[in-house]
């Protein structure tokens, strides 16, 4: 038993490598922050493309659905490897895109961000879609009957109502995104998991990984509670019947 504790909960190892692991974890948070903002924006854009009206725009809708389905199905790890292993050799791209070092961040950082945005853009698009489709049809019709264009109606009427229905599922996506930032370790970004693995191979002890896990738990547990609260609040709203419209 003490062997078990020594392997996973060696406080000396944790203490000695606390700084490195923390710096690595901050790297995870940074990847998360950048990827989350971009993925939420891309997701909304995709969701809006998917809702475009009319027969003529069918190809755009079709392509958007294909994108969303494809990138929800492919493992992120594959995308990360394909971007980091392929983009540098696409010589038609400018140098600063092939090997990006924007804002002083190394290229694996940006390859990782790109992969996460591509995939989580697709996931969040589906969440936005659920919100948009939960807005009664009469809202769009009323806006259109007042002369608003499809885009104006989306912007001023449908989307503002749709997004109030989805904070809980969206937060769940963001929690997954935060955890998936650890996948970027495979392309040598010094985030917490990579740092911990280096400690593991140096000390033959897993406690640094435990420490990393604790960091994630500390951040994510409160978020999970927030999700519960949001769901409870939404339930209350529905049962109270604050939405008068009958579909």
């Amino acid at each position: 038993m003490s062997q078990f504790f020594n392997q996973y909960f060696n406080f000396d190892v944790m203490r000695e490598h606390f700084g490195e692991v923390l710096v690595g974890f901050l790297q995870n948070l940074l990847v998360f922050a950048v990827a989350a903002v971009l993925a939420l924006a891309l997701g909304l854009f995709l969701a809006l493309l998917r809702q475009l009206p009319g027969k003529k725009l069918m190809p755009i809708r079709f392509l958007t659905i294909a994108y969303i389905d494809f990138f929800r199905a492919v493992p992120i790890l594959i995308i990360i490897l394909m971007i980091s292993g392929g983009v540098p050799f696409l010589s038609f791209l400018p140098q600063e895109v092939r090997i990006p070092h924007w804002f002083g961040r190394p290229d694996p950082f940006w390859y990782g961000v790109a992969a996460l945005v591509i995939v989580y853009g697709a996931f969040s698009a589906e969440v936005y879609r659920a919100g948009i489709e939960a807005v009664p049809r009469g809202q769009m019709e009323a806006a259109r009957s007042l002369g608003m264009s499809h885009f104006q109606a989306m912007r001023h009427v449908v989307v503002p109502q749709g997004v109030t229905k989805i904070p809980a599922p969206m937060l769940n996506e963001l929690i997954s995104l935060l955890k998936d930032t650890t996948l970027v370790s495979v392309i040598a970004l010094s985030e917490s998991v990579l740092v911990s693995r280096e400690v593991l191979s140096e000390r033959l002890n897993s406690s640094s990984l435990t420490l990393t896990a604790i960091f994630f738990v500390i951040i994510i547990l409160p978020l999970a509670r927030v999700v519960d609260k949001l769901i409870a609040r939404q339930q209350l709203k529905v049962t109270r019947g604050s939405h008068i419209e009958v579909a």
Partner: protein
């Protein structure tokens, strides 16, 4: 007689295999109130939705102020076209379920379209919106959210919202059907007043009394066709068609 504001000829609408409108002819003169009656599923709501192109008809023509609004590309639902702009800036619509914007205050509901579509300044839109809401008796509810209002009040906001776009024609789609009985009168009174001011109105309703009193023309629809039309006194008190008699018997029996 002058050209009718609205002239429908052979309007047909299908939903898949279901033929909802089977060739509707109708003339509406300026300032006229046309009440459309009929059993549910007779196509009366669809007719209104065709007039403002929420459901563009497959066949026939609809002339709004002598312009054919069914021709030309892209009059399909949701798309952008010259026809849509033309129609929606001239035709206002009020819905059975109010469809107020729940995330906006009463006043914002009324000012949104004038600001975004007509490009009115905020001040101008608010001034006019306030006046309209006072006119429908809701001057004290400007800052409220719709969910705090009764159904009758909500429907009056919806009327003010449509009027804010200065429509030439107003469409009312069973606007009192979702209301508690005691709230029906306040909405009908608002419509009465509007009619007396000379608004051209197309009213789908089950309120026979309103049709009799306010209607200049009554249209009885069944099965996607106009069965009978004429003066309220003729159609409602002296119907010629068997189906009209039957329907009126059922409605007045209540």
């Amino acid at each position: 007689m002058a050209d009718p504001v609205l002239k429908l000829r052979g309007v047909c609408k299908r939903f898949g295999a279901l033929e909802v409108l089977k060739g509707i002819d109708l003339d509406v003169q300026k300032g006229e109130v046309v009440c459309i009656l009929g059993p549910s599923g007779s196509g009366k709501s669809t007719l209104l939705r065709c007039v403002n192109l929420l459901e563009p008809p497959e066949e026939g023509e609809i002339l709004l102020e002598t312009q054919d609004i069914c021709k030309g590309p892209g009059s399909g639902t949701g798309e952008q076209s010259w026809e849509l702009d033309f129609v929606r800036q001239r035709v206002g619509m009020v819905f059975q379920q109010f469809n107020l914007f729940p995330h906006k205050t009463v006043l914002e509901n009324v000012t949104m379209a004038p600001e975004k579509v007509l490009g009115r300044s905020k001040g101008e839109a608010r001034e006019k919106g306030t006046a309209l809401l006072e006119r429908v008796g809701l001057g004290d509810k400007l800052a409220q959210y719709p969910e705090r209002l009764s159904g009758g009040q909500q429907q009056r906001v919806a009327i003010a919202r449509a009027l804010a776009m200065e429509p030439h024609v107003m469409l009312f789609d069973e606007v009192t059907s979702a209301l508690d009985p005691e709230l029906v009168k306040e909405v009908l009174d608002t419509m009465r007043e509007l009619a007396s001011e000379g608004m051209t109105m197309l009213v789908v309703t089950h309120e026979i009394g309103f049709a009799k009193e306010v209607g200049d023309q009554v249209v009885f629809m069944d099965g996607g066709v106009i069965v009978e039309q004429g003066l309220p006194s003729e159609v409602l008190e002296n119907p010629k068609e068997e189906r009209t008699k039957q329907f009126l018997g059922l409605v007045l029996d209540r």
